[in-house]
Symmetry: C2
Subunit: 120 residues, 2 copies
DNA sequence: GGTGGTACGCACCATAAAGTAAGTACTCGT
DNA sequence: ACGAGTACTTACTTTATGGTGCGTACCACC
């Protein structure tokens, strides 16, 4: 029998129900998650700047989204113990790698949205 | 007054709250929408095949997702009036264009999911 | 000494999305 | 005549998502 030459990457199957990639995909394609990643890809930002940049996001949702993305290792949170508090958010290398796949998608949607919505 | 030289593409801003691209982005990044698009990019499929391919999707969600994607112009639905019914689904050119941006993302998630989930 | 700014956390309620289960229509095979 | 197969729809329930408002901690400014 031929032995498998140990693949460096273990590709998971998104089509399988119990696959971890399903959960990751949900985080990555979440409503606000996409916008946070893309915003931070343009430049690191403080809490308040993110909130102003991403119109319509509530403080609760922004906090929740940031905590999820931080736990997944996409976003780096740096809090300075100054008064008033100052917290900087930026992408980790993993986050930048993700952003590279997300930005073409968002750009495409931006360019084609009018056509799509008009097609009713 | 200088008249605008009719731009071929009108890029919309996803960061603006009332922008149509927000709605499109939601459809495109919806939980089942991503999987349907990617599945159909591999090959056109009948209803039953899609249902088996995308593990865990309910009939209701599959029908709803397909109707949304069809309305947006990503998916083509071809029903044959035979008994028993036979319905083929495939991507439109617009859908294929979208898939080209979606597949790298899904592939990336598939390759990195283990690392991300393990990083708790 | 009251007000404002920063970056949240928490509790509560409303709504939207998704899951569950069953029903439909029609015909073929047994 | 009964059950299976196809592609759904509908009604009901549960879960997820999102919004509102209040509280916190500390200081700087007026």
């Amino acid at each position: 029998m031929t032995e498998n030459p140990a693949p460096a990457i273990r590709a998971t199957n998104v089509f399988a129900a119990n696959c971890p990639s399903r959960r990751v995909l949900d985080h990555v394609t979440s409503k606000w998650g996409v916008l946070v990643i893309v915003a931070l890809a343009q430049s690191p930002m403080r809490w308040g700047a993110l909130r102003r940049r991403i119109e319509g996001v509530s403080e609760k949702m922004l906090a929740q989204t940031l905590r999820t993305l931080e736990a997944d290792g996409f976003v780096l949170r740096e809090a300075q113990p100054t008064i008033p508090p100052r917290v900087d958010y930026s992408l980790t290398p993993l986050g930048r790698s993700l952003a590279a796949r997300l930005i073409p998608l968002v750009t495409w949607v931006g360019n084609n949205a009018d056509e799509i919505v008009g097609a009713h």
